[in-house]
Symmetry: C2
Subunit: 366 residues, 2 copies
């Protein structure tokens, strides 16, 4: 196979326009050309996050963005409520624990989401610095109901900060950050943004900025106040990933040309097709009905087929990379990313390839 | 000007082969193709750092690599000796201070280096956890004598760890990390490695690894033990900057084809030409004789010419970006990067352009 089609839940495929932009010559990050680039990216991403706050660009992958969210708002001894629905919920909470937070968990079984009523009940029992939520839980293909969760967080006495991992959702799933009063939003280039990994985008509410100024956790590279100070003059405090920012600029151009509403509608439509196709082929979905992520689908395999057989056969014989499960779900599920640069034909090809691969595997077994 | 020539001290120009590699399609970072890529890069960079230790790849710029060096070895209350010879020496020490280190400074005036005898004297007065050294100080164009410093550190009772900022030196200046017993070495893609910013490369000695396992500073994204655990199977713990790693692979191919000895000789030769040319044009060098960096030259301007006039004229009329001074040297000097993808013709063009720009500026003034 000359070129693989990546359908893992990130990194996602690159449009030709993005690939071309990546190969542009370097420019000084202390030049007007760079300042114009960064300033434009900030302004163009804001509506896709539903915010008028500044969008900051960190040269790091999504996990670095999550650490920035934590180390600028959480310090040792802070009580934090983790609404963990899988591997990446655990990671977000794990970062807080590294910074000395006392983490309370409201966990859901794989495929389920945390009930907003349960969140409200827990918030009434104690005072929390922050609530951690994963928007699209990449390990299970669940989209957590951020709107409902934000409502109960907003109604809590001693209202905690609401920190959102939007790594695998934003750019494909709309968010009304300012309206919902989400305090920190994190996303990353290699998901719906159709750009290689290496950029995390972060936005903070006024309350989060206020907290950051008093937060004592040690930080330097991820010091968001330093990032904001530099952003005021269109710069970054440390040398930024210039080529990745070029790529992101090209990707935003494509998203704007399609129209952001159409982008989000396309993701919903293609996700539904992937799910229906998998169910027809004998898979069962991990995500509970009504909570399916528009960007990632996780599914238990049909009887008699092992996950590693399917992923290996798809890569070897059909040139398609999909992912397996993580942690407890390792070996039990497959995961497919359908975000960013993907259209109807890709889904058709993907489902046909999976069907053929299943037939091949069963042929070999017989 | 259609395309600018970047002669700032990073990011540096990209060879066409690197630009092409950057535009390659994505691949899953949990695939054999990626594992082969990462493993190969590790093995190929080791000789250029003079180490048999594993080279770890962080998706971050150089400052992120420096923070990784600090937060894996330094904790609150640790006493640290900073051999600061400029802006980046201060940054390295500043990161340690953020983690609660008590920082002692041995500073040198701009252009000078710290005397190894003074280091030995200071080390005999107290017990330090670590000594921080900047190899090529990008703010002054000084190459600090790592060999001499390493010798006195090695001879100290209660030998401290030796942490080296090799961001703007390595890949162009050889280092014998293992022979000199340097404990942590950091470099970054956008300097002599001819790759866009976004990758930091870090290597640790056995002593540094031992210290890291006991170091209590909070860290997650920059947890080097996690990076090493993943590296054992050719992976990174968090999604890596795949396209930048492709670029680095292409750059290493060019460096190997030229031969690393010839690469380092070329840097010495071109640096000497830049210095001689600038002196002939009336500049005076910041770096003291004998301590000039092979990668960066900083120079005070000829009488009657302001730094901002020269940088603006060079960019506008000659399409060349050079840098100004930082901190106290802002407005007082220019800085030129001559590392990575640079040859005799580039230096000729650079010096001629500066000569012409000086004439234009003087013409306007008259």
């Amino acid at each position: 196979m000359d070129q693989l089609e990546v359908r893992v839940p990130g990194p996602t495929p690159l449009p030709p326009q993005v690939r071309q932009a990546l190969s542009r010559p370097m420019v000084s990050h202390r030049s007007q050309a760079f300042r114009d680039l960064l300033h434009g990216l900030d302004l163009r991403i804001r509506p896709m996050l539903g915010t008028q706050q500044e969008v900051l660009f960190l040269t790091a992958s999504g996990t670095g963005g999550l650490e920035a969210a934590i180390c600028n708002t959480i310090e040792a001894g802070d009580r934090v409520l983790s609404l963990s629905t899988g591997y990446f919920g655990e990671r977000f909470a794990g970062i807080a624990a590294r910074y000395g937070a006392k983490v309370d968990y409201l966990r859901a079984r794989p495929g389920a989401t945390v009930d907003a009523g349960a969140v409200a009940a827990r918030l009434s029992t104690a005072s929390f610095r922050a609530v951690l939520v994963t928007h699209s839980e990449t390990s299970t293909g669940v989209l957590n109901p951020v709107g409902e969760i934000a409502r109960v967080v907003n109604e809590a006495s001693n209202r905690p900060l609401l920190l959102l991992d939007g790594v695998s959702s934003l750019g494909a799933v709309p968010l009304a950050m300012d309206t919902l009063n989400v305090d920190v939003v994190v996303t990353a280039s290699q998901k719906a943004w159709m750009t290689p990994p290496g950029l995390a985008m972060v936005a903070l509410s006024d309350r989060a900025w206020e907290r950051a100024s008093g937060c004592t956790s040690p930080r330097y590279y991820f010091d968001l106040a330093a990032a904001r100070d530099s952003a005021l003059r269109g710069e970054t405090p440390w040398t930024p990933g210039v080529s990745l920012l070029y790529g992101l600029e090209a990707a935003l151009g494509l998203m704007e040309a399609e129209g952001f509403e159409r982008v989000t509608a396309r993701h919903l439509r293609l996700a539904a097709r992937v799910r229906e196709g998998l169910v027809q082929l004998g898979f069962s979905l991990v995500a509970a009905p009504g909570f399916e992520s528009p960007t990632v689908t996780a599914a238990y395999l049909p009887a008699g087929v092992e996950a590693h057989q399917l992923t290996a056969c798809l890569e070897r014989d059909f040139g398609i990379q999909i992912a397996g499960g993580q942690a407890d779900l390792k070996g039990r599920i497959i995961r497919i990313g359908h975000m960013g640069y993907i259209g109807e034909d890709n889904v058709t090809n993907l489902l046909r390839s999976i069907e053929s691969a299943l037939a091949l595997i069963r042929e070999e077994v017989r």
